[in-house]
């Protein structure tokens, strides 16, 4: 907040008027409207009196200019000098050790031709297998590994085997930016003074030497969750040599609940792996498995889940069509809940009660839970019936943040329903040494306080920031004689440590890791460390007999030990080449859960706060990543901040509204947070994403968000009842939402014009989102193309045969190919991976919070989110629809005729080209674009100064300068290279040969791109689908990007009124 007060842009005077956001307003808007209501947020649905005040002041915020004085770019410009000194360009070379490129790529470097290398991004939840594109030894673009079971995409229907690709998540896509971040720590430091690695080793060895005698009694090693067999082996050997020494693992978003739950259910630690491709009924007990990599196995789960909803591919057409059903009982508003066929929002603690009731109803032992209102009861009964009917084909998924009891209950229910071994497998945990981390950390803190710890080595952790607040880690920390921190950035912990050692990025150093399913990957570096980083392996080696061992030696020797004999070389090369070791997935353990004995937590009726990892920056580890900061979080559309997220009923009760600053108080601890009201959020609970509000952090993360860790205790680390909320009158905190900027209706609007539902109904009456229930679709398969919003006849042209008819009706005569795209709304889960992929592929700049507030974000691909209620009166429990919006590449592009210099013109292949060099920036094209997909460089947004970021840029794409319009090009650089390749072989481009960046990364294969003149191409098949429609067709823009209407499969016994599809006509 401090940074905020410096900047009057972000601060606006609050008005004394009372809150406009009420359920009543919303209902009265919605009631009386035919059909489902799509609206974008509650501010729109209800009117907010603030605007009146704004008009009194006529123009608020006489903003001098939308850039904050100490801007990110400004800082990095300073950095550039030092980068130049660092002579970065000289550093961009491949590692000395032999690395093995991926298939079908030239082994040697041909300038201008990228080389692909398989590697993996380790995370606490298991590794993300990657294929990294390297230009002139510079890793530039992250893709998924096509062969790895965890990252291969949905079988591409008709595609030949060699045309397949791997999928990734947003964080993996963005991780390449961290590699080049000039703010990474670059030197070994002792109390802030620069030292050499040698001195560090010396100092540590001395201190360690003293400990040796007492079996290393004073030595503690604190790492994040270790999924690297080699590292684990290294640490274990250290512990063997020093039996008194101890090793702890800590991650803020740890899996203690799952572990404890497993102990309860199975008497041992296990990982549950869900096989959603086998499941017809999926029940999520607060499990947010569709919204990103913070859920273990996110890629595979979303892929398998959606594969059961691809009505044209998986289920077969027409009568044969089948579709799974997703029930979500959740304590927040998540994409998983948004995609649910039937959703039941409730407080996190009530989920446990619901689970108990469900278990009880399914005949699993254990105590019965209480289900309060009638709707929940209806829901429960219908759910039970459904589960009984689909034994062995259903699955119940407990949420990571849910209590051990819920995990145990879920396990028990899955066994009872005969799902174990079918839709859910129980395997050895992904981390090599599973622990209950909070307990471990407690022990460590106790030892530190007791003065037992003389030497503490922390690798890749930041406990001073993210340890449970009640442990008072920092205080205990001070009592340790020698504290060494190894990390990629200087952070809160390094500031309090004696030694800091810069750590290598995963693209810089050798390691190995396991994916969520246990499959082992070798982490292969693509580049020599940019900033003298050291890997965890090297640091741990300091405590071994031969401190000098490199990461490469460590990893290789470990695997040599695993594969005796002459077979090693081929094995090793294969592993590097493929990016993983086949058949290393953890085998399923024949485990049957015993009925959960543990009692349910007592029912309470207090206001609750739920702690969740942030959807984009997780537990704060990615806070310095501009791409993730500016990535609008699913559902909330929030960027650059976190907020106290609540339902509007709760907000009403608390007498607060969006952007009001409130003080959250939980057993003594206090923190100030801005309010954000989100549709579908359960009442009487507040969601706080942790990871923001860091104090020692790079310029990108500075001043963003509030620190929810301050409220988070070891005991109640996921949700806690009894939070006190007090509004700080007069204080506002501007929240940069990428959708619905300052959309405030005046009182007049509501009373005089709209009366009922005009505003709320805008999106619906415009027919942007078209959806139906499974049953309705069966009845009227063509529902998506009924109604008034249809394209006019092509004969309606002044020019007769000369007009677009000539080349649209017979496009092939213009060029060998005509490109088009189809986006399957059924498959899109709004996970944002495509957005970051686009940003990475196309060198899209980050603009910063002030610019986002001004409405100038640059992302070429955005995910519009609309809400609708199956029951038109129940605004508290909406469905969310995610609609990715790239350029529509209209055949009659409205942007083209208005450009005075012909800077945007049509290509023979039907692309709406943007000629940056010719653009003078009149912005008329953007005004005239009905889809508002064009982005303008209002200021010099691109970073031309930071050396390291220059190396990050994709050399195949222009970096746009100030005053130029830009937009999605269907990745024209990829199209061109494929065309050239095909021409060399004198053939046409094959279907699937061109994959756009967004399509390639999509975990659920929601995006299809190809030649629409090729009758057999997948895109043609998608477009021939009856549910295929185009946005704003009545404008006769003839978009090449089309959408496949979404089908939901709600349980008829639950839906209060059957959902009518998107037409108001």
């Amino acid at each position: 907040m401090a940074q905020d007060s410096e900047n009057d842009l972000v601060r606006i005077q609050t008005t004394k008027k009372d809150l406009g956001l009420t359920a009543e307003h919303a209902r009265e808007k919605l009631s009386g409207a035919r059909g489902p209501q799509y609206w974008r947020s509650l501010q729109e649905l209800t009117e907010d009196p603030e605007f009146d005040a704004m008009m009194e002041r006529e123009f608020p915020r006489h903003a001098s200019e939308w850039t904050d004085p100490v801007s990110r770019r400004g800082f990095l410009k300073l950095m550039s000098a030092s980068m130049a000194l660092a002579g970065l360009s000289a550093c961009t070379k491949q590692p000395f050790e032999p690395i093995v490129p991926y298939v079908q790529q030239p082994e040697e470097l041909i300038p201008g031709k990228p080389i692909y290398f398989a590697t993996a991004r380790p995370t606490p939840n298991g590794a993300y297998p990657l294929l990294v594109r390297s230009h002139e030894f510079r890793p530039v673009k992250i893709e998924g590994n096509p062969d790895h079971p965890a990252s291969k995409s949905i079988p591409q229907g008709s595609y030949p085997a060699e045309l397949r690709w791997g999928v990734t998540d947003a964080q993996s896509q963005a991780s390449v930016l961290d590699l080049y971040n000039p703010e990474r720590s670059q030197n070994v430091t002792f109390r802030g003074d620069t030292r050499t690695w040698g001195t560090f080793v010396g100092a540590i060895r001395d201190a360690f030497g003293a400990e040796r005698g007492r079996g290393g009694a004073g030595l503690r090693i604190l790492t994040d969750t270790v999924t690297s067999p080699t590292l684990a082996a290294q640490i274990k050997s250290v512990l063997q040599a020093n039996p008194q020494a101890k090793w702890y693992q800590w991650d803020a978003m740890n899996r203690d609940n799952a572990r404890t739950g497993a102990k309860l259910a199975f008497g041992q630690y296990v990982d549950a792996q869900y096989r959603l491709a086998e499941a017809d009924v999926v029940v999520s007990l607060d499990a947010d498995f569709l919204s990103g990599s913070h859920f273990p196995g996110f890629l595979a789960m979303s892929r398998d889940f959606i594969s059961k909803r691809k009505l044209d591919l998986a289920g077969g057409e027409g009568e044969a069509a089948k579709m799974n059903r997703l029930y979500v009982i959740e304590s927040q508003a998540s994409t998983t809940g948004g995609k649910a066929d039937d959703r039941l929002p409730m407080r996190a603690c009530d989920v446990e009660q619901f689970a108990g009731a469900l278990a009880n109803a399914l005949g699993v032992g254990g105590s019965n839970g209480t289900v309060k209102d009638d709707h929940a009861k209806t829901f429960l009964n219908a759910l039970v019936k459904d589960l009984q009917a689909t034994r062995g084909r259903s699955v119940i998924i407990p949420g990571e943040q849910q209590s051990p009891t819920v995990h145990a209950l879920a396990a028990a229910m899955n066994s009872t329903l005969g799902n174990a071994g079918k839709t859910v497998l129980y395997t050895e945990p992904v981390e090599i040494v599973p622990t209950e981390q909070a307990a471990g950390l407690k022990e460590l803190v106790a030892d530190m306080n007791a003065g037992k710890v003389t030497l503490l080595v922390m690798i890749g952790v930041n406990p001073v920031f993210d340890a449970p607040s009640d442990l008072k880690f920092a205080d205990a920390f001070e009592k340790v004689a020698l504290r060494a921190h190894v990390g990629i950035y200087h952070d809160e912990t390094s500031r309090l440590s004696h030694w800091h050692v810069p750590m290598t990025h995963y693209l810089e150093s050798w390691s190995d890791t396991r994916a969520y399913d246990g499959t082992v990957s070798i982490v292969q570096p693509l580049i020599e460390p940019l900033y003298n980083g050291r890997s965890a392996h090297e640091v741990v080696a300091v405590f071994s007999e031969n401190p000098g061992v490199t990461a490469y030696d460590a990893v290789q020797s470990y695997w040599k030990a695993q594969n005796k004999g002459a077979t090693f070389e081929p094995f090793w090369n294969r592993a590097l080449h493929d990016g993983f070791m086949p058949n290393t997935a953890s085998p399923a353990r024949p485990a049957s859960a015993r009925p959960a004995a543990s009692a349910l937590a007592p029912v309470n009726d207090e206001l609750e706060i739920v702690f969740r990892p942030d959807p984009t920056i997780h537990d704060g580890r990615y806070i310095n990543n501009g791409w993730l900061q500016e990535l609008s979080k699913p559902i909330t559309k929030l960027t650059w901040d976190n907020a106290a997220i609540m339902s509007f009923n709760t907000a009403k009760q608390l007498g607060v509204k969006d952007e009001d600053v409130v003080t959250l108080e939980l057993n003594g601890a206090k923190v100030d947070a801005p309010v954000l009201v989100v549709p579908g959020h359960p009442d009487k609970t507040i969601t706080a994403h942790y990871g923001y509000g860091r104090t020692t952090v790079g310029s990108v993360g500075t001043g963003t968000g509030f620190n929810a860790f301050l409220l988070r205790t070891a005991e109640r680390s996921n949700y806690a009842a009894g939070v006190k909320v007090t509004a700080k009158s007069g204080e506002r905190w501007r929240l940069a939402l990428t959708q619905h900027h300052h959309l405030i209706e005046t009182k007049k609007w509501k009373e005089d014009v709209v009366g009922s539902s005009q505003v709320g109904n805008e999106a619906a009456s415009r027919d942007l989102v078209r959806s139906a229930t499974f049953e309705e679709w069966r009845r009227t398969p063509g529902f998506a193309n009924e109604g008034e919003h249809q394209a006019p006849s092509r004969d309606l042209t002044l020019y007769g045969e000369d007009g677009y008819k000539s080349w649209v009706d017979d496009p092939a005569k213009n060029a060998a190919h005509q490109w088009g795209m189809a986006i399957d709304m059924n498959s899109c889960i709004g996970c944002n991976a495509c957005v970051v992929a686009c940003q990475s592929e196309n060198n899209i700049p980050v603009v910063g919070k002030e610019q986002v507030l001004a409405g100038r974000e640059m992302l070429w691909l955005r995910i519009d989110t609309y809400f609708t209620t199956p029951n038109t009166n129940d605004v508290s429990n909406p469905r969310a629809f995610f609609q990715p919006i790239p350029c529509m590449q209209c055949e009659n592009a409205p942007c083209e005729p208005v450009c005075p210099v012909g800077a945007t013109v049509h290509s023979p292949e039907g692309l709406n080209n943007m000629v940056y060099n010719r653009c003078v920036g009149t912005r008329y094209c953007s005004n005239n674009c009905p889809y508002k997909v064009r982005r303008f460089n209002f200021l010099l947004f691109a970073d031309f100064d930071t050396e390291s970021y220059k190396s990050r840029n994709n050399p195949d794409v222009t970096v746009r300068s100030r005053g130029v319009m830009e937009k999605c090009t269907y990745c024209v650089q990829r199209i061109t290279s494929a065309r050239i390749h095909a021409e060399k072989e004198t053939r046409k481009v094959r279907d699937g040969e061109i994959v756009t960046a967004c399509q390639q990364t999509c975990p659920t294969d929601a995006i299809t791109f190809g030649d629409i003149t090729d009758k057999n191409s997948r895109v043609t098949r998608m477009k021939s689908n009856e549910r295929n429609y185009t946005l704003l067709a009545e404008l006769n823009t003839r978009p090449r990007t089309s959408y496949v209407a979404e089908i939901r499969n709600p349980n008829p016994e639950i839906a209060v009124t059957p959902e009518d599809h998107g037409h108001t006509s």
């Binding site: 974008r40 704004m54 008009m55 608020p60 915020r61 006489h62 903003a63 001098s64 200019e65 939308w66 619905h740 900027h741 300052h742 959309l743 405030i744 209706e745 005046t746 007049k748 609007w749 005089d752 014009v753 709209v754 415009r766 942007l768 001004a854 409405g855 100038r856 955005r862 519009d864 989110t865 919006i885 409205p894 005729p897 208005v898 450009c899 005075p900 210099v901 012909g902 010719r918 003078v920 920036g921 009149t922 912005r923 953007s926 005004n927 005239n928 009905p930 889809y931 508002k932 064009r934 303008f936 209002f938 200021l939 100030r962 005053g963 130029v964 319009m965 704003l1032 404008l1035 823009t1037």
Partner: protein
Amino acid sequence: MATLPDNRPVDLTRPGYSTPVIAPGYNLEQVTAKIANVILTTKIKLGWFGVFIIAFGIMNLLLGAVGYLFVKGTGIWGINIPVGWGFAIVNFVWWIGIGHAGTLISAILLLLKQSWRTSINRFAEAMTLFAVACAGLFPLIHTGRPWLAAYWLFPYPNTMKVWPQFRSPLIWDVFAVSTYAIVSLLFWYTGLIPDVAALRDRAKNPIAKLFYGILSMGWRGSARHWHRYETAYLLLAGLSTPLVLSVHTVVSWDFAVSVVPGWHATIFPPYFVAGAIYSGFAMVLTLAIPIREAFNMKDFITDRHLNNMAKVMLGTGMIVAYGYATEAFFGWYSANKFEFFMIQNRMFGPYGPMYWFLILCNIAIPQSLWFKKVRSNVPVLFLISLVVNVGMWLERFVIVITSLHRDFLPSSWGMYHPTKWDWMTFFGTMGLFMTLFFLFIRVLPMIAIFEMRTLLPQAKVKH
């Protein structure tokens, strides 16, 4: 030095009396003297200096704002996506509109043989030129890369063999506005030639003599010259009339050609042209009233002129009102979702108050012009002219902003807040306008001398 006539009292109560376009009792020499002396002999008034300095100061706001704009980029303004056009375009349309009265008065009223035009057409034309100069700034500086826009918008052969895209209304604009500027300049200068010739022969100061001598090109009032001169002037008037109508038509196409609800309307051309004349006459009044006070020109710019201009304002104002009505009506009658929403949003959305304020300024208040009392009350007339200027600016603001900020996809709706740079640029152009205008009335005859002569009884040839 001529002596001014004793104004014999005129019985204004006499039925059927209307104020003459020139007060009685003047002879040729006196007309020449009265107008020419403002420039040649009268000492520069302190008042003139005062106002000029102020105007010049305001003009420097513009220089500052534009300077910073070129350094930083259009991001210093309030524009964004979806509102890609802001003050720059609003001001452009406003100034161009003002720039219509001059040529209209000179051309159309000449063709209609409205002799009362003679005493106001000269500075009305000057006003036109300066307004067009102000307007012309904006299309250039509002672009992202003005250093390129400055010449890429004109067709010239270049190594890349690329040409302007002639389907774009913005290019039509470039041609329309520059044509209008050139023709207005020619028209104005042609009208000036005989007058500067008169100044040349009157001037004592050798520099002034040389200056006017060059400008007059050796004009000597030969009957043969007068003959061709009159022909040329009449033809120019004939050409300017369709031109002046075409210019704001083209400007309206900048909007009407798009697909944006609230822009895409067939009513735009007539309604824009009427609006232009409306604001133009308002501005002429705004200038004429103080000037005839300051330079004691009441005998030449009589109440009759003010009265007539007020009537023209009333008329064009009604056409504009009809335009608003049609827009609203078709918003509903078209049964087009987007049109209907647009008109609702325009009236009751976030910018609703501005819409109603513009209705007040452009329709409600001017209705008072129906009454002769109001038309003949100079201070009130002056105020009304100011109100209409404000109203017409608001109209353009409402058209540009409210149509853009909520168009087709609700997900992309936004708001527009002008920044201090927007305001500086806007006021700055007013400074530029006033600076040019004050220089003009010091250097050139603000009233067409030779045409005034023709109004005198002596000028009537009996046989």
